[in-house]
Subunit: 274 residues, 2 copies
């Protein structure tokens, strides 16, 4: 099954939450330190507790790369725990000149066998092209991010009155010849999301920023409802995986994921569109 179909299948089952595996040894429950590999023990239990109700997993490569060889081993093991039918997003934010991007694509798609990746488009089309050549994968391209720094360059106004991030969205629509593109749009920017839904067109949207960063789940879901769009992912990392510091951490993650699913269900189906 190609990456887009994995996503749409889950979305059709009313699953929209992407669990972010930003696993930090400093934040995982202390009792796991008795196991041989605490990070792997943590990820295995989180995946087991959430896989039935999740839409996708997003693996933040930085959290693994910082441990060098051990981190790469942990990445590989973590990916092996995820069932075949669930989309795995490599949150790697890569982007470089063509011959280098080709190597990054090989790393994420061929070596780690992830289904999708996040890409930084600053360097333009040829920096993204080697990823686009993988027709069965999904490329989530940064448009407007969830952090305060999104104001520094992404929200600069151009001479034609549009913003840089809008120009990115327009270009991504052009790059989407093989239906293997999506965008990253920070859930902290709900006003901008509403104003750009038509511009976003049919692109799948990955939305970080709910929870620790302050984005409103209700506002985001109601926007998608209003525009009758159901191909999106709400990423939650810390809000799910660190819900409890105790021995019940996996059960707490399971419960929190279900709470979010229920909330999304309510916003999407029961409330009137405004």
């Amino acid at each position: 099954m190609n990456a887009l179909n994995k996503l749409l299948t889950k979305n059709n089952e009313n699953k929209f939450v992407c669990v972010g595996l930003d696993t930090d040894i400093k934040k995982i429950p202390r009792h796991l330190f008795h196991s041989e590999n605490p990070v792997i023990e943590f990820n295995k239990k989180i995946i087991k507790a959430t896989k039935e109700n999740v839409a996708a997993y997003k693996i933040n490569f930085a959290f693994y790369e910082k441990d060098g060889l051990k981190g790469i081993e942990n990445l590989t093991k973590t990916i092996s725990f995820i069932p075949e039918d669930i989309l795995i997003i490599a949150d790697a934010k890569r982007g470089d000149i063509g011959n280098t991007s080709k190597m990054y694509a090989q790393s994420v798609f061929d070596y780690f066998k992830c289904d999708a990746i996040t890409l930084n488009p600053l360097m333009g089309k040829d920096s993204v092209e080697p990823f686009l050549e993988y027709h069965n994968k999904l490329n989530f391209i940064l448009a407007l991010t969830s952090n305060p720094g999104s104001a520094d360059f992404e929200k600069l106004k151009l001479e034609d009155g549009e913003f840089v991030y809008q120009k990115i969205i327009d270009e991504v629509n052009k790059w989407n010849v093989h239906s293997n593109c999506g965008i990253v749009f920070g859930a902290t920017n709900t006003a901008e999301l509403g104003k750009n839904m038509e511009r976003i067109n049919s692109l799948p949207v990955l939305l970080p920023g709910i929870g620790a960063q302050g984005g409103s789940l209700e506002d985001v879901i109601k926007t998608f409802k209003k525009f009758k769009r159901r191909n999106f992912l709400i990423n939650v990392s810390r809000g799910i995986i660190y819900k409890s510091e105790g021995v019940d951490f996996a059960e707490a993650a399971h419960i929190e994921l279900n709470n979010l699913n229920n909330q999304i269900d309510i916003y999407l189906n029961d409330s009137p569109a405004d």
Copy 2:
């Protein structure tokens, strides 16, 4: 010695060439395939042949990451071959929200112990800040890159008449409180380089794009001469390391590096500024 001092010391010795270790198993001499680890054998010999006359090494992380565990081992070994007084630039083009960028900084500066990194600033100041906290390191931030795609977003014109890449340069100057910032400016953009030298101010400049990508060494060097600036690096990767496909590849790299050094010396010292 901190990273900036490593760079300035080499520049003061009239060394400006950065050798890019974009080592691709498909391009290295066939005779090396008899050795246990051809990539490492290649890098070791290239470094041995060039270390006396080089200003810095730039390691393109993508070329190693694509090999997973083996690649990380090769990265570590390659770094161990480089003498302590030579700047090692991790060409990784990282950038993410704060807590993630912190992990990338740990990977490049603490785990691999590189002196410098290339960063993608699209996500703004907070995406770069964790790197800036390493006062002894150097952060080369993408301003205007050497590839065709630099026209897509970096060269967009803003409402005030400036370009996105110029806004980036202005911000980097503000971020440079601890003298640990530089910029990446593609050598294929010589007209823009000349027009922006005052804006670049005292920031060290890393210039890719000479050679395979078509940038003119003469134009670049004469621009720096004209503005009496001597803190820069001309990156050459394929043009040096793949100069010969034969058993003489390391000697050929040595000769090509010396040729470039001689050319730079001529442009910088003997020719009149225009």
